[in-house]
């Protein structure tokens, strides 16, 4: 068994300053497409539940991170795109950046580190941005991933919790796999809460909300996305085989759910379970079910008693009904695919765990 004292010692080395209020929020391409409820609930959580000031600018664009990691977008271009985001932030009067995407967060971190060590690159970027847009920018005072921010408010969320992460039938804590994105802290361990080897950002939320973190041998293994592995179509089998390796490793621990902070990880661990079931007929949860993969906003929302359909859990491939039953969350199945004004939306086919 892992010794918590040892982990706490490591965590104490990897604490970072996280701003308390007044955030400039930048969205994720993947997240707003595949599980948009997460980003919406982050704004609701911050503004309505915690009373914080969060600003988002409709002129914010993709960071072009996927292009960068696919060798399509050159470094000078992505630095200028990121500089434009900083310019929007400056124009709006904000100094604290809240980043929804782990890849974007990794890029912002990498670019800020690059500018620190190579000031000439910073000056070139200022010039490119000014020539292209007439804009100027400041370096953010604080850069946090939104999972950092939710982590920093985890105790306040726990204090307002309607439910705990406990199996309402057995009374046992839910067994939860946590998985951080590579770009969250594997490039710059000091940028992530708890570092890269034993990250605390998600496990801290699980602990605070009553669940039990599972340690399994392939805990650090890639979710299977890995950009190049997936983006090159011929490599997709490799991508899938990595995901399956990870799931086979966690299976004996009978996890009730997976908690992730990266758009790619959430998407791939969710959707590849469907693919593995279709291709090989294999599942990784108990009783032939698959394991729901949730974002930290979705989990925070459940803990705070939000309606799962308002959180957008129905947008996942692996449906979360088994988890909701364990949590004792009351759900209305007929509302699952209805709009806010009660109109019936098309019902997706071949979902799993239904």
């Amino acid at each position: 068994m892992m010794k918590n004292e040892g982990k706490k010692r490591i965590w104490s080395d990897y604490q970072k300053e996280i701003a308390d209020d007044h955030f400039f929020y930048v969205r994720s391409c993947i997240r707003q497409s595949f599980f948009p409820g997460s980003e919406q609930f982050f704004l609701n959580l911050m503004r309505k539940v915690l009373g914080k000031d969060v600003y988002e600018d409709p002129a914010h664009t993709t960071c072009t991170g996927i292009g960068y990691h696919s060798d399509i977008v050159p470094a000078a271009t992505i630095m200028t795109v990121v500089a434009r985001h900083f310019a929007l932030m400056k124009e709006a009067g904000y100094k604290n950046l809240a980043v929804s995407c782990v890849t974007s967060f990794g890029l912002y971190t990498e670019i800020l580190e690059t500018w620190k060590h190579f000031p000439a690159e910073l000056e070139k970027t200022r010039e490119y941005l000014f020539k292209a847009t007439g804009r100027e920018f400041d370096i953010p005072e604080n850069v946090a991933h939104t999972s950092d921010i939710v982590y920093s408010f985890r105790d306040q969320i726990a204090a307002k919790a309607k439910i705990k992460l406990v199996n309402s039938i057995t009374g046992e804590p839910l067994k939860i796999v946590e998985h951080i994105g590579c770009h969250y802290s594997k490039m710059f361990p000091k940028s992530g809460i708890g570092g890269a080897e034993f990250p605390h950002v998600l496990s801290g939320m699980i602990d605070a909300w009553g669940g039990e973190v599972i340690d399994y041998p392939e805990r650090r293994h890639c979710c299977g996305f890995g950009f190049r592995q997936y983006l090159v179509q011929a490599n997709r089998g490799y991508s899938l085989s990595n995901t399956v390796k990870k799931f086979n490793s966690m299976k004996p621990y009978k996890p009730d759910m997976i908690l992730a902070n990266c758009p790619g990880c959430t998407m791939f661990m969710d959707k590849w379970q469907y693919t593995a079931k279709e291709l090989e007929g294999i599942t990784f949860g108990e009783k032939g079910e698959s394991i729901p993969v949730l974002t930290y906003e979705e989990l925070a929302g459940l803990v705070l008693g939000m309606n799962p359909w308002d959180l957008g859990l129905q947008y996942h491939m692996v449906q979360s009904e088994p988890l909701l039953r364990k949590l004792g969350v009351e759900i209305n199945a007929s509302d699952k695919y209805k709009t806010k004004d009660g109109k019936q939306m098309p019902v997706p086919q071949n979902l799993i765990n239904v």
Partner: protein
Amino acid sequence: MNTDVVVIGGGAAGMEAAGRIAQAGYSVSVLEKKSETGGNLVNWYQLFPDRKDSREVLGYLNNVVRNEKLKMLTSTSVKSVDRQKGVYRIKTSSGEIIDTEAIVVATGFDLFKSERKEEYGYGIYENVYSSADLEKMFRAAEVKLKNGTLPQKIGMVHCVGSRDEKSGNIYCSKLCCVTAVKQAIELREMLPASKVFCFYMDMRMGGAHYEELYLEAQEKHSVNFIRGKVSEVGEAHNGKLIVKVEDTLAGRPLRMELDMLVLMAGMEMSGGGKEISELLDLDTGDNRFFKSTDNHFGSNMSNSEGVFYAGTCIAPMSIPETISHARAAAVDVIQYLKSAK
């Protein structure tokens, strides 16, 4: 109090240097911040290459320092140092003021803190130990897992905090390889049913009789040597340790289930040495150890007049090397005192 020489550190180097200086008729005070002398040696069981009990060496050193000209001040550290007119005035933690003409710095080394290599899980997984932990088990004649059973499969990770840029230590600690070989043999003798695997980068068997010990480990004790660095350690569902390593000779990755993992911790400049370097304004090298004035003929000499180095405060050394280096320091100090008078 006046004394001819102050030796800072009461480990093997400090004891040997102090004893030799006292034998030459000079008064010596040894300041040792711990309550007992012997330094890191007290934590070791048997010594390579001939498996001599460390207590024999400690016995020798205790004899060396048994001299009426030598004063051993344990639980005493240096608080401040001033120099005026060629005399160093040292204020100790006990409030004593000592005036001396020469100082021998023998602050030794600290073992690399294995928990800094987070991926190996020291302090997190209960059956991951350091080489120093294993020595304690050997001394107690009890090598057991936390649940009280005997380990069947044991892995030894070389170069933990050595030749490792990520740890900030690009230098080779040079003794971890032979320590691993010695400990592997001891494990096989103590636990004949066990299998022992050493994961190494290179086997650096540069000392006298080291290579012979390495061959003995393979031929007589069937220790398995696998060339490859461990990338990560985890725990399996059955509680065993999962070790991922690349076998670079076979050209394939390995994933092994082990009962116990021993981390061969490297050597670093000691915390005490760092404090002394600041108090005495002594130069240190890129490896953070004290920097001698010359690597060939001045390895005992510092950048400050009247301050000399002995032992592993300048670089990793074995016990024989430490003792030889301390004797050389004594020669330099005696010559310095003679020329001053």
